[in-house]
């Protein structure tokens, strides 16, 4: 029931777009309401990518500061408000994750153990919309390990290097496989079923 409420509140794009516009004009109350309605979704996105909770919290905070700063640049042509905000959160989370693993691994604990339960299967979500079903059908057309690579990258922020290690392939092979898989995905999405 809670999920349903969250889903319906974040899916009313009109309300979110108005809040985003007002936040862009400097309206802090609107920004606070925007946060109340979207932060659980964005934190969900970030937590998958930054399994360390402190890092995830940092990612959330930085994401909303960026959202506040960039709210006046939001363009509905580039997607729904929640999609636009989730992209900012995802990109910020991936940047933090890379930094943590690439630059400061010698100074800190490694990222917590990867959640071997991921890749999450989008099909487990009963609320999925038509676009997601379509994307999922196209993903199902890929060999299982390729689909897993795509989902691990998208949901969990894995780099080519991390994927190469898990799937025991050279990094360059992973790069080729990813790009071919994406090309096939595009063909499936653009070309109909």
């Amino acid at each position: 029931m809670l999920r349903k409420n969250l889903a319906s509140s974040t899916s009313s794009s009109d309300g979110l777009a108005a809040l985003l516009t007002r936040a862009g004009a400097g309206d802090r109350d609107a920004f606070e309401r925007l946060y109340a309605r979207t932060s659980a979704k964005l934190f969900g996105v970030i937590c998958r990518i930054c399994p360390n909770r402190e890092l995830a919290k940092e990612g959330l905070q930085e994401s909303y500061v960026i959202i506040w700063q960039k709210a006046d640049t939001y363009d509905p042509a580039l997607g729904s408000p929640i999609a636009w905000m989730a992209r900012i959160a995802r990109n910020r989370a991936i940047d933090l994750r890379r930094l943590r693993t690439e630059r400061i691994s010698d100074l800190s604990d490694p990222i917590d153990d990867y959640d071997e339960a991921s890749p999450a299967d989008p099909a487990s979500d009963a609320e999925q919309n038509e676009e997601l079903r379509r994307l999922e059908r196209c993903l199902d057309g890929l060999p299982t390990d390729r689909k897993d690579m795509i989902l691990l990258a998208y949901y969990s922020g894995w780099s080519r290097e991390e994927l190469a290690e898990k799937f025991s392939r050279p990094v360059n092979t992973v790069k080729t496989v990813l790009r071919r898989s994406l090309a096939l995905l595009r063909e499936c999405l653009d070309g109909g079923d």
Binding site: R28, V65, K70, E102, E131
Partner: protein, 242 residues
């Protein structure tokens, strides 16, 4: 299986950027290019829109209760009037102007903070400052972060080019209590200096300090003062505590 539709390098890069598999440096590079390459930007936008539906399947997670207070404080401290406020507002205005690039610069600055903050304990007070150094073209070239507790100065090259062969970029501190520029060291793509090169690292003084980068003969200024043109400058701005 049939490997038909091969991608161009640029399209592959855009697709992998949206998917999230690029390294930190590749991502920073794409962030920079997005500002001036509309074709790459529209390719990234295409892939982002294509993959957006996957986010529908992400379960919401309740954020920490105190997260919004921290966000509000960060926003307030950058907009209300306090000492150094004009600098922060100026920095924000520049960040907005850089638009897509702002993410890179902000991300870099944040990453520096993460770096200097890693070994932080709560026992000792830590004051952090950042500076975004830009040249005449108003694009960010270097970002710097100072931590008084770590006694470190971190500088990353984010947009500028390396100096010409036979030349070095030298970092100077200008302002504060001493009238003459003080050399902090020669810059590489990523540099770290002990903060005591700034003197006694007094936060009040740091707030009145500007970082400047000059072009010097290889190995640095022979005189101890800048001899070549100053190509990038940026004021130190205090970072609100957590």
């Amino acid at each position: 299986m049939a490997e038909i539709d091969e991608m161009s390098d640029e399209d592959g890069l855009a697709a992998e950027y949206a998917l999230g598999t690029l390294s930190a440096s590749e991502r920073a590079d794409v962030d920079r290019r997005l500002r001036r390459e509309p074709r790459l930007a529209s390719a990234v936008a295409y892939w982002e829109r294509r993959l957006d539906p996957l986010l529908d399947a992400v379960e919401p997670v309740a954020p920490p209760m105190d997260a919004f207070a921290a966000i509000k404080a960060q926003i307030a401290s950058s907009q209300t009037s306090r000492s150094g406020t004009a600098d922060v507002i100026d920095l924000q205005r520049r960040l907005r102007r850089w638009q897509g690039g702002a993410i890179t610069a902000a991300a870099m600055a944040a990453s520096l903070l993460l770096f200097v903050g890693v070994r932080e304990t709560t026992a000792i007070r830590d004051e952090k400052f950042v500076a975004v150094l830009e040249g005449d073209d108003r694009n960010p070239a270097f970002v710097a972060a100072v931590s008084t507790k770590d006694k470190s100065i971190m500088v990353l090259r984010v947009g500028g080019l390396a100096p010409a062969p036979g030349r070095s970029h030298e970092l100077w501190a200008v302002g504060g209590d001493s009238p003459a520029p003080r050399s902090l060291g020669l810059l590489s793509a990523a540099s770290r200096f002990p903060a005591d090169r700034l003197g006694d690292v007094d936060p009040a003084e740091l707030q009145r300090t500007t970082f400047a980068i000059s072009v010097e003969p290889e190995g640095g200024s022979p005189t101890g003062q800048p001899t070549g043109p100053v190509v990038f400058t940026g004021k130190l701005v205090p970072v609100p505590g957590k």
